[in-house]
Structures are given as C-alpha cells and as structure tokens.
Symmetry: C2
Subunit: 333 residues, 2 copies
DNA sequence: GTGGTTTCTGGGAGCGTTCACAGAGCGTTC
DNA sequence: GAACGCTCTGTGAACGCTCCCAGAAACCAC
C-alpha cells in the first residue's frame, strides 16, 4: 500500500538526537536548546515526518476529537435548516478549544452499531447528540460507556445527560397567544414530529394558549417537519372547518406548505387566515407574506451543547441550559 | 477522569486464557475451541471489555474510516440540498463496506489546519472532498500526503485525483435548448458560483446553446447558489430588458427566487416568461408552477466518489466517472 | 508404535508515541 | 570547594493491541 511513513525515530537519527528531544520539539515543550530545536526541525522537513495520532492517542488516552451524532431520517437532513446551524455552532466552539468536530450520521441499524463501536473505541473524547428520538439506543449507549456528552434538545426517556434546549412549550404558547391577539376565532394547529420532545412540547404550548377554545378537531398530525406535511395538513384543516381563520404550524417548512395550500384554495394571508410558524429559518423570509415565527437560536444551541461537553472534559460540573427564544412578528398574521 | 477501561489482558485473566486467544475470539478467527470461545465471551461481559480502536489502528496501520471534507461557506450548508444527498450517498457505500464515514467541516483557517493534521495523523484511510474551490489548499494537502481520495466535482487547478461528476456543460446546454424550443426570443441567465467548476460549466453550456443569440447583457452573476441571488438577479434582468421571456437559473434555489421576483413584477410563469433551473432538488416541486430542471443524481455522486476511494484502498485502479443527468420538464417553461 | 497433519493455545516482539526518571553540564551561592 | 539549582538530553517502560512462531494436543493412517 502506501510507503512506510517516517517515524519519530527516523527524525531522531537524521538529527543525531534522541526520540525524547524530538518529541519535546514536536510538542513545543521547554528545555530544548535552540540548536537542537533547529536540527530537529530540519530533520523533520528532510524525512517528511508527520506525527502518528493513533500512537499518540494510545499513550495520552485522549483524542482531542468530539463526535456530533446526527440521527435523522433521510429527508430531514435536507428540510431542516437547524441542523446545519447547529453543526456550525458546535464546530465554532470546538474549534476555539482546539478540538476536532467529527460528524457521524446514523442512517441504518448497521450504522448504529458501527457508530457505537467508534464511540467506544477511544477515537472520541465526547459527544454531542442531535435530534435523538425518545429512548434512542445510541443515547443509551453513550451514557453506558460513560462518555462525556450533551444533547441538543432533551427527549424523554433518555439518560440523565446535560442538554442545551429551548422551552418549546413556552415559545409555542407565546406565539399562539399573539396569534389569538389578532382576533382570530377558529385557530388550528399542524403538529409534527410527535415522537420527539420538540413536537410534543409545541403541541402542549398550543393547547395551553388555547385553553377553553382548544378543539382537537382542529389539530392534524404529521410525522415530519416538512413542507409536504404543511401542504396536506392545511388542506385537511380546510376540509374539516372552512371557517378556520388561524393556524400555528409546528415549523417554518410546515408553515410554508400551509401557506401555499391556503393561497391555492383562494384564501388571503393574513386577511382571511393568519399563519405562524416556528424556527425563523430561511423559509420565513422567503414566504409571501413573510412569516411570523419564533426565532430559535440554532447556532447557539450547537455552541452551548459543545461547551457542555468541553466542561465535562475539564472536570467541571455542567447542567442543562435553556436558551431564550423571541417571537418575530411579520406579515403572515 | 474516566475509570480505567478493561483491556484485553483483564479479559484474558478473567477467562484464564491468554491474550492471543482473546484476540482471536474478538476478531472472529478460526482455531478457537468452543469452550475457550464461551469462556472469553463470558469474561468480556463480566469485565465490560471494549476494544481500544486506537491501539488496534496502531498495529494494523489502518482505521477503517473515511473522511468526507466539506468546505463550504456558512450559508450554503443550509441552502444547498445536494450536500445532504451526497453525504447520505457516500455513507451508504461506506457503510456497506464497513467503513465509518467521518465528516469534517472547514469553516475557518484554523479548521483548515486542524483538519489537515487530522488527515495526516493516520486517523483516516481515505477522503472524499466535496465542493472544493479552484486551487483549494486542503485538496493539495490531501494529494501531498498521498492519501487515497476522490472529489465530488472536479475543480480546475486541483491535483490529479479521480472524481465523480456530472457534465454540467452538456446538461446546461440541453436544458437551455429545450427552453429555446418553446419559442422564446429573449433568454437570459442568472449565473452563480463562478469560482467553481459547476458554475463556470453551466454558464459555458448556456452560451453554447444560445450560439448567435447569446447576449452578455442578459447574463447576471452572483457568488452563491441562493434564493436571494435569484430574486435580485431576476429584478436586475427585468430592468435591463423588460421584454425578456426566458431565464436559465444556475440552480433550483436561484430559480425559485427568480420566480418570486417575476410573479411580484406581475409576469405570469410560464406564459410571459419561461424559467428553468438545475438540480431537481426539493425546491423544484415546491414552486408554483413546478420547475423544469436538470436532475442531478446527488446521492449517486456521493456513492460513486466513496467507491472511488474504496477502490484505491483495495489497490484497484480508479478513474473519473461522469454520471448521467436528465431533463425534468414540468410547468415552469 | 511412528510419523504426519490439523487444531488449538501461549507468549515474545513490535506498532509509534509520551512520560518519568536519571544524569550530565554549567552557573550561582554560601 | 561543596552544595544547590537550573537547563538540557537520553533511555526504559509503558499504552493496548495484533502478528507470528513455537509447541502442545488430538486425530488419522500405516
């Protein structure tokens, strides 16, 4: 296969010094004479040495890498704009601390096993788990190994690990109230992803805001936060009650689909029907009229979760963090 | 920190057998008695042994992991639906071959250095490089190390590595011709991402199809394949020539932005202006009317690039692969 | 019984590092 | 001039695993 790579011994020989000295130079330690340092650097260049990280990890017992585990069904990887932001946010925090972010995607049971092996194998010092479902086996595996880890979100039934999340219940309650405040009489919801905490909580918040006025017939459910769910869901709601005049969609993508369905049905937004979403993703500004929605600090969620892992790595206590959301009021309601 | 993990020796002691036998059991080799196998398995469960991958990699000189390097500006990670598909496609191929996909994102110069270290350090047996720009330093680094690698796409000025790509020139030429075939007289283009091969080639294909009718005043350029670029670009084209009746947008996201701009300007699509895109991403079906576009097999590109790397790993020759595109003709032109 | 093959097990060597320690050299202080 | 402290360097011993060889044990055939 590949030609044998130069080792620290080759460098030592070429420089006429010992292994130890080379190691000290490579790691930038003190107690190396200027002379020796230069000789080593020349030798490194000469033999083309690069340090073998696997060997280093073996003795230092750490890898300076953090895994970010994405466990999403196929389609959502494209539809959900939050994932990209979370990824970049986490990368930023880790990069600053000089840790390498390693993203592992789980797309099949086979992946699940291999990723678990990867985690256990000592190739990773900690993990950020994104979008775990309730009772996710990979989350259990992480806890089992005792790997420092943190969730983005905090599904039920998962081990007691710190998390970075928003208060979906409160945020959903807030925007629904605001929608009701525009004088709507018949308000429905297109709920999604009830197999995870965000979906459940947004529904709970909607319910709380509606109080007496809550009518289960005006709630439809879909498995994923997608445009298609919003489109179909809105059509179904219109069929169930043509007098509907307000909708809370569980995400911006869902809201966008709902808006298209409304407009195709000849309803004006916001005059006839007011519509609000959730996420403040790029969808929100792209809709006509622009979407009133809840801003979710996706990048910050990633950053925070990464910091929670780093804290554990440094032996500091780390506890859950709930981040603020804000209602962005625009033209759709 | 974490409690010391059980090693292969602990298992050997617990089972009353030797290191060698335990290793044979763990790796599923033959020449182990049923008796010994059972004893080892019991001991593994008892002491909670998991193999240390770093140590294993050190001696076997391989990691069974392939890196996928994403070097994208911030915003594109959300806008470009191809990246998700490429990721999943690559993961599928690697998963089958029992390799772990490790995604590394580059978002700053600091990342660039760290990723290069990661590649060099022996933590990865090969790499798939997505969306490298012309003369990308990381691509050069990969070639320099001699790591088996493949590109998705094939930017100019990058080292001589195999790639999986589509023929952007031909595909752009084909869909532009089709657009011209609907009898349009004044056809423009919203070009994007001219710093990479795909952007350049789509423009070249457009130009080839236009032939005599090519008018540089009807081409606008934007740095990224975004909705916003399409929106602004279309407005600019309308100002330059209100009689414009056809547009080729460099991607579906761009086309979607252009369509919104057209509709806001009171033009009917496709009656007044025909519009075609590129990618056949989820954008295409979401537009009203649905977009005529070029289907780009994004998942297959990822799969193919991964296979090119695997082939190199097995010592087989691997040469560039150009995949087929097909024109999807819908309602927008 | 002898010789040969096959199955199974143990343990030394080595993968490329870091770490801890020993010791050399040199200057400073009492 | 002895004692002490710094700076600098070399080396043995790990880290946890796989590989390979030697040899024991079991079986078969003559």
């Amino acid at each position: 296969m590949r030609a044998r790579r130069a080792t620290i011994n080759d460098v030592a020989d070429a420089a006429g010094l010992s292994r130890g000295t080379v190691s000290r130079v490579v790691n930038g330690e003190k107690y190396v004479s200027a002379e020796a340092r230069m000789a080593v650097e020349a030798a490194i260049a000469q033999v083309g040495y690069v340090r073998n990280t696997a060997a280093r990890n073996l003795v230092t017992q750490e890898s300076r890498a953090i895994g970010l585990i994405i466990h999403e069904p196929h389609s959502l990887l494209f539809e959900d704009p939050n994932i990209g932001s979370i990824l970049l946010g986490a990368n930023e925090a880790l990069s600053k601390a000089d840790y390498q972010l390693v993203t592992l995607i789980i797309d099949s049971d086979r992946d699940s096993r291999r990723v678990a092996d990867h985690l256990r194998g000592g190739l990773i010092d900690g993990a950020v788990i994104v979008s775990a479902r309730a009772s996710d086996p990979i989350a259990a595996a992480v806890a089992d190994i005792g790997l420092p880890a943190a969730f983005v979100g905090h599904p039920d039934g998962t081990p007691d690990l710190p998390y970075a999340a928003i208060d979906n219940v409160e945020a959903a309650r807030a925007i629904t109230s605001r929608l009701l405040g525009t004088g709507r009489q018949r308000v429905g919801m297109i709920a999604s992803a009830l197999d995870r905490d965000s979906g459940q909580d947004r529904l709970a918040g909607f319910r709380a805001a509606m109080g007496e006025r809550y009518d289960p017939r005006l709630v439809v459910e879909y498995p994923l936060y997608t445009y298609a769910a919003g489109f179909e869901g809105m059509q179904k709601l219109l069929r169930r009650d043509p007098s509907i005049d307000g909708v809370f969609a569980a995400s911006d993508a869902v809201a966008a689909g709902a808006m298209t369905a409304l407009q195709e049905a000849g309803r004006r937004v916001p005059e006839d029907v007011g519509i609000v979403g959730f996420d403040d993703s790029s969808w929100a500004l792209r809709c006509r009229p622009q979407l009133s929605t809840v801003r979710q600090p996706a990048g910050l969620l990633g950053t925070t979760a990464a910091e929670l892992v780093l804290a554990q790595l440094m032996g500091l206590p780390s506890s859950p963090r709930v981040l603020e959301t804000v209602v962005m009021w625009r033209g759709s309601a």
